[in-house]
Symmetry: C2
Subunit: 371 residues, 2 copies
């Protein structure tokens, strides 16, 4: 199947993906929590069906466009895990007619705007910042959270669901102990807030918890009500570095043609650049930037090569620091497999999957939302 | 016009773009060199027409897909400035039937493959590495260049054009003096190689020179035969840092809705993330990463704000370090304008332009090549 590849192509190992999905679904069941996977990583109707076949009914997305794409494919319970964009009120009203729409708010301004402009009921979560400092009301500000919850409950079209956080600081953790510590801290902050709300007579207050590292590492998630991991469907080198997954869980790679060899400086050039892989990088122990791992094609791809990696990217060029073992065996016109640093961004760029089991998933089914 | 924007949208200042194009075209004319602009930056049929109206007939692209896109729009002389991808020989033969196709080679393997598999004539350039160390035969290896030129000249379907380089190390330069030094060094290496080839009876040997910094900064380009700058059509913060352009030459920005304010830590959150801007960054004097500049909307956009910039990106979130002056004036639901670090990547991600002169360039004309 790889022989037919002519240009940078996203390769999906469906067996690994299904194993990743089933493992997370089983953990959610064991923990007694709702599994509400984030679909921003794959953005694919076909992969959505793999989740549906395993009992998933409620999903998470990161934009209203993505919500519309999945709403058109019979997904009826959709959480947009992004601070509500007031400029898309028309899209919100349109979606709220067709699906159970769940939005994130974190300011009185946004709630008041929704109150004035919503024509249909929506459910809302208060976004809490438990330490990632990206966005949300800081968990320490319980007064602000209580005020906002009361405002929400006074609004005709708004129904208050609870507290939602994305523990994005788990991406700074390395190893299970650190990841688990992020989870414990996040959950204790959210449960304290829930207690403060209940003491004000506000209940029920659900807790929605995100992020692939904690959901992968922590075995018992029963202290929250729902989980929203996304990246776990494919994982990537970042998750491998954190310790969220093993190498054999990596479910996507980019097949890239070799276009030039520079043996004298132990480099080779791939057709596969920033417009295919994204410029996300990890820093190696030697301080060098790594824009992707490298493996040889096999049934899919072989093990990550230790001494070879993508060391820089232009728009279309990928430069590989190549070990002697690789340079001796590769020729111009061959393919190499690049394991992405951040699969969400690589998939967003390439947009189509070629499955290793090409009979079962036709190429091109993974088309994302309309632009 | 900006009032209608609901989500991250690429805004084109056509007046600035036309001025950038006309300035470069005039310099090429004064220098007596062929202007063969690189179309990878805009990837737009409509913008291609702006060049055509100013006399451009030969263009540069970075992939065979892009070549096919422009070939379908009556561009008849197309240079693919990327080491030839042997796996796309079918596309090469197909294109070579319709246009004057110019390819880059840097190895005997590639030349021999073309000789065996080409069904139509193509022109080839030898890619020379004059110091960027991305790809190409190092300029010091004149023997290898002479051998390859002789091999090319012995091939039935190959016609040897000359030496092509992209002085990508100009991106490390800061200020006109450093950029000009890169140009002088590159040209002297290419002219020495040309002399060595001519001494072997190989002529004519043309010199094709790329990169926006040197083509922008150097006034007299008459020592080369053709220039292939691309980024100059829009410029960006990287070019501004190098000194290739002035702030008033920046011709694209991304309009982004404000979705959250965090005044206490002098930050705000934009709907506008890595999937809109790309993760390209510049390092500020204080060591912080900057993923974009920030300006307020105006007729287009106002001056770059000194104390505000995009400090981190998630898939859809852009975090802005915001000066007090900005925080006092901005509300959730407002728009801010983000000036890209690397316009080629931002344009590749957003794919559609909204022109400030919406009457003259309908939204959506800037569609790139088929996937």
């Amino acid at each position: 199947m790889l022989e037919t590849i002519r240009k940078p192509t996203l390769i999906l190992d469906e067996g690994r993906m299904i194993r990743n999905i089933e493992r997370m679904a089983a953990k959610a069941r064991r923990s007694g929590v709702l599994f509400k996977p984030h679909f921003k990583t794959h953005q694919s109707a076909a992969i959505g069906e793999v989740f549906r076949e395993r009992g998933v009914r409620a999903i998470t997305v990161s934009s209203l466009d993505m919500a519309a794409y999945f709403a058109a494919r019979q997904w009826e319970d959709i959480t947009v895990a992004f601070p509500v964009n007031l400029r898309q009120i028309e899209e919100i009203n349109c979606l709220a007619e067709r699906v159970t729409l769940q939005l994130l708010v974190e300011s009185r301004e946004a709630v008041e705007f929704l109150q004035k402009n919503l024509s249909r009921p929506v459910q809302v979560w208060i976004k809490i910042d438990t330490g990632s400092r990206r966005t949300g009301i800081p968990a320490a500000e319980s007064g602000a959270v209580i005020d906002l919850a009361k405002t929400i409950r006074s609004c005709r079209h708004l129904s208050f669901r609870g507290l939602l956080s994305h523990a994005g600081h788990s991406y700074q953790a390395r190893g299970g102990v650190q990841v688990e510590a992020v989870y414990r801290d996040t959950v204790s902050k959210l449960r304290a807030l829930k207690g403060a709300l209940e003491a004000e007579g506000i209940h029920p207050v659900l807790i929605s918890h995100g992020d692939t590292p904690t959901c992968s590492v922590v075995e018992d998630l029963s202290e929250v009500d729902e989980i929203r991991p996304g990246n776990f469907v494919f994982y990537d080198l970042t998750q491998l570095a954190i310790g969220s997954c093993a190498e054999e869980d990596l479910a996507v790679a980019v097949a890239c043609p070799v276009v030039a060899l520079h043996g004298e400086r132990e480099e080779l050039v791939l057709y596969g650049g920033a417009v295919h892989l994204s410029k996300e990088f990890l820093t190696r122990p030697d301080g060098q930037k790594m824009y992707g791992g490298v493996a040889r094609p096999a049934q899919g791809w072989g093990p990550l090569l230790e001494s070879s990696y993508v060391s820089s990217l232009s728009q279309e060029h990928g430069i590989v620091r190549a070990g002697k073992d690789l340079l001796e065996r590769v020729r111009v016109g061959d393919l190499l497999m690049v394991l992405p640093v951040h699969s969400c961004l690589t998939v967003d760029l390439l947009r189509e999957f070629l499955s290793l089991e090409a009979d079962s998933t036709p190429q091109g089914q993974g088309l994302p939302c309309p632009p």
